[in-house]
């Protein structure tokens, strides 16, 4: 049973290692943020989503699902990824002569299809935490409307744990 905070940190680290994604986030990997549930000092998740600056990505741990899924998997970690892209009207990616900033669905595509750091594998092909996590289930991207009526795209991840790691 892996610590949810450890799983969250591993996903954030993986995303921060993707150069194409960091380029879309003002060249700053710290604009990819993991949401923690520290009572007293942390915003609620709703407030954290509302307060996301542009560009940024917020990764939140949602559920630790327990059950006898296939005889070998008894834990699944569920996370959501909230995408606030760069202003495409003024922001360019890759310097002054760069291209306009990408749409949120494209940023999600970059997250799921770009190779991580110095590896040759993308997020969907990688077992995080030295193999303690299995490959993620097929990821989902959904559209929502936020509290102000603006578009908000949310990626959903379910990552099974290898046995009872």
């Amino acid at each position: 049973m892996l610590d949810p905070d450890l799983v969250l940190a591993a996903v954030v680290d993986a995303f921060q290692s993707i150069p194409a994604v960091v380029s879309e986030l003002a060249d700053d990997p710290t604009n990819i943020i993991g949401h923690t549930y520290t009572y007293g000092t942390e915003d609620s998740i709703a407030r954290a989503i509302y307060s996301m600056r542009s560009p940024s990505i917020l990764v939140a741990y949602l559920d630790l699902l327990g059950g006898n899924f296939d005889g070998a998997t008894i834990w699944k970690h569920r996370l959501e990824v909230y995408l606030r892209p760069k202003n495409a009207a003024t922001g360019v990616v890759g310097g002054m002569s760069g291209v306009p900033a990408a749409s949120p669905p494209h940023v999600w595509w970059l997250l799921m299809n770009s190779v991580l750091g110095s590896t040759f594998q993308n997020f969907r092909q990688t077992s995080l935490l030295s193999g303690s996590l299995m490959l993620c289930d097929t990821p989902t991207l959904k559209h929502r409307t936020d509290e102000q009526g603006a578009d908000l795209w949310v990626g959903q991840l379910v990552i099974p744990e290898w046995g009872d790691a």
Partner: protein, 114 residues
């Protein structure tokens, strides 16, 4: 006298008494910047700090009421703005029928010109 004629001075009058911010609009088409007086409106959720402060943990969402009609170049979605040295994206412009507008803005993680 029509309602519009009666109400037309209202925006300037209200802004002159209640306007508490100067907002500088940076146009995406490189038109010259414009600075106007604005009034803050209540957002969907309130945040930890006073709108317009440069505190690193300051507000992300800002709704500013401005007199839209006199602006030579009307602000539009995608323009950027600066309030007290803090840069925002204008992601929506809600124009009323009498020459005023609310600029819905989200704080940027980069300077307005980057």
């Amino acid at each position: 006298m029509s309602f519009s004629d009666i109400i037309s001075p209202a925006t300037d009058t209200i802004l002159s008494f209640l306007g508490s911010f100067s907002v500088t609009i940076h146009y995406q088409d490189q038109s010259p910047d414009v600075t106007v007086t604005a009034i803050t409106k209540n957002p969907a959720m309130e945040e930890d700090y006073v709108p317009g402060t440069a505190n690193p943990a300051g507000v992300t969402n800002l709704l500013l009421f401005v007199h839209f009609l006199p602006l030579i170049v009307a602000p539009r979605k995608g323009d950027t703005a600066t309030v007290n040295g803090v840069d925002y994206d204008i992601w929506q412009v809600d124009v009323d029928r009498e020459g005023g507008a609310t600029l819905r803005m989200r704080r940027r993680n980069q300077r307005f010109d980057q």
